[in-house]
């Protein structure tokens, strides 16, 4: 007898979900035999229609395949902690290389996996999330093979100052009016200082005769950059009076990174007033890069918190496979 088209499609789909296991063919034969048996026993004859009924009752191809795959995991649950920890370490290293490559304006490679081309600061901002997903994938790939080997391999557990568990449990404290007042006061003072002296970076603390550390061009860009960073910080703090959402922090970090990108991307040769004969922009850019790393860590923290929250919401949906038959 020629195999029913419906049954053929059904088995093909299950086969796709079963992957490449050795027992795949045997499993498919088992299912086929059961469906034909049931269709023959419960309906007058085996027809497309009777097969349709039996297939429908057997369950969706994905659901069927998952029951066979219950014991096989991509990454063992015990290794999930390692996935996050190793990714964090690799990403920190990767981030350092990206920052170095951006400051030194050169390409870098750590064979065989990491290659960072010579990119400008704007491109660097886009490279950071890509680097994170690459590192996550690479670590996941290695842990997949560790899981599949089914050997009790003891993996090292390096200590970190950045604890994912603590990040996920970050408390959302309510903003305080008094602190906001202090911030606004300080910010007002800085604006006044900039308006009066044309810079926020001084060589000496002498209000009668202020001497700038930087050239006028560098003073303008770096001072406005600093005011921009602080202004966004204060704006985000103010928004928290109305919403404590993690999105506020994510948006704040993103805007601050964009400002740093603009400043670092601006060619300011010989920024230091006393050393105009030396091109020390690299020093200024290194300072900006360190600030960018701190903001990037905060940006990633917000991403992790939002991602974890989304996953939690997804997993708390009611169990759909339950049938109240009994």
């Amino acid at each position: 007898m020629q195999m029913s088209k419906r049954l053929e499609t059904y088995l093909e789909e299950i086969s796709r979900y079963l992957g490449t296991g050795q027992e795949k063919q045997e499993i498919l034969t088992e299912i086929k035999s059961h469906i034909l048996e049931k269709a023959g026993q419960e309906y007058a004859e085996v027809t497309e229609e009777s097969i349709e009924h039996v297939v429908e009752a057997y369950g969706s191809p994905r659901q069927v395949a998952e029951k066979y795959l219950e014991d096989s995991q991509i990454i063992a649950p015990a290794l999930k902690g390692h996935l996050l920890r190793y990714t964090t370490i690799l990403f920190a290293f990767h981030l350092g290389l990206i920052a170095l490559s951006s400051i030194l304006k050169t390409s870098m490679a750590v064979l065989p996996f990491l290659y960072i081309p010579e990119i400008d600061s704007f491109q660097t901002l886009f490279t950071i999330p890509m680097a994170f997903f690459f590192d996550l994938g690479l670590v996941g790939f290695i842990l997949y093979f560790v899981t599949q080997s089914r050997k009790d391999i003891r993996l090292p557990w390096p200590k970190l100052t950045l604890d994912w568990q603590k990040i996920r449990e970050r408390k959302r404290s309510k903003p305080k009016l008094f602190l906001l007042f202090l911030m606004l006061l300080g910010y007002g003072f800085l604006i006044w200082l900039y308006w009066r002296s044309g810079t926020l970076f001084f060589k000496t603390i002498d209000f009668q005769n202020p001497r700038s550390l930087l050239t006028p061009d560098a003073s303008t860009w770096y001072s406005l950059g600093l005011l921009g960073l602080l202004g966004i910080g204060i704006a985000a703090y103010t928004i928290k009076f109305f919403s404590l959402s993690e999105w506020v922090d994510l948006l704040r970090s993103a805007c601050q990174l964009a400002i740093l990108g603009i400043v670092i991307n601006r060619p300011i040769p010989n920024p230091f007033l006393d050393f105009t004969y030396l091109d020390l922009q690299i020093v200024a850019n290194a300072v900006i890069a360190v600030v960018a790393v701190f903001i990037s860590v905060d940006f990633l923290k917000s991403l992790v918190i939002l991602g974890t929250k989304a996953l939690k919401e997804k997993s708390s949906t009611p169990y759909e496979g339950f049938k109240k038959e009994r």
Binding site: H34, G40, E70, G321, F322, K324
Partner: protein, 122 residues
């Protein structure tokens, strides 16, 4: 059983994920008991249907496969009929495990009954 307990395990309560967990062990013993005589999958479903128990076919076959991998049952295809059927048989080791599991199940049942009786008297 007191009212409080009935409220918790009553049919109106959604016990979905818990039922799956609870069934996992039970179905293993059930299949080992069913295979006192050789049977094929569809026949097992029908026997249990006669006893008012819906044995889900898409759960049964993966379970049979797991038990076979652990050496508790064996299988062989019968192609003498017009339709090929896979017959399952309990192994010697399967019988030993079944005896142990049944003893354990009876002990658990006794403990549970004792506890429920005590709860009813509270």
């Amino acid at each position: 059983m007191n009212d409080k307990t009935e409220e918790v395990i009553g049919m109106e309560t959604d016990i979905g994920p818990f039922e799956t967990e609870m069934n996992r062990g039970f179905l293993q013993v059930l299949v080992l008991v069913l295979l006192e005589k050789d049977m094929y999958g569809y026949a097992m479903v029908k026997v249990m249907e006669g006893k008012k128990y819906a044995l889900e076919e898409n759960t049964l076959y993966p379970l049979l496969r797991r038990l076979e991998k652990k050496g508790l049952i064996e299988s062989k295809w019968d192609i003498t009929e017009d339709r090929p059927r896979k017959f399952y048989t309990i192994t010697k080791n399967g019988r030993k495990v079944r005896a142990g599991l049944l003893k354990m199940w009876q002990q658990q049942n006794a403990i549970m009954n004792r506890l429920l009786k005590e709860n009813a008297n509270v």
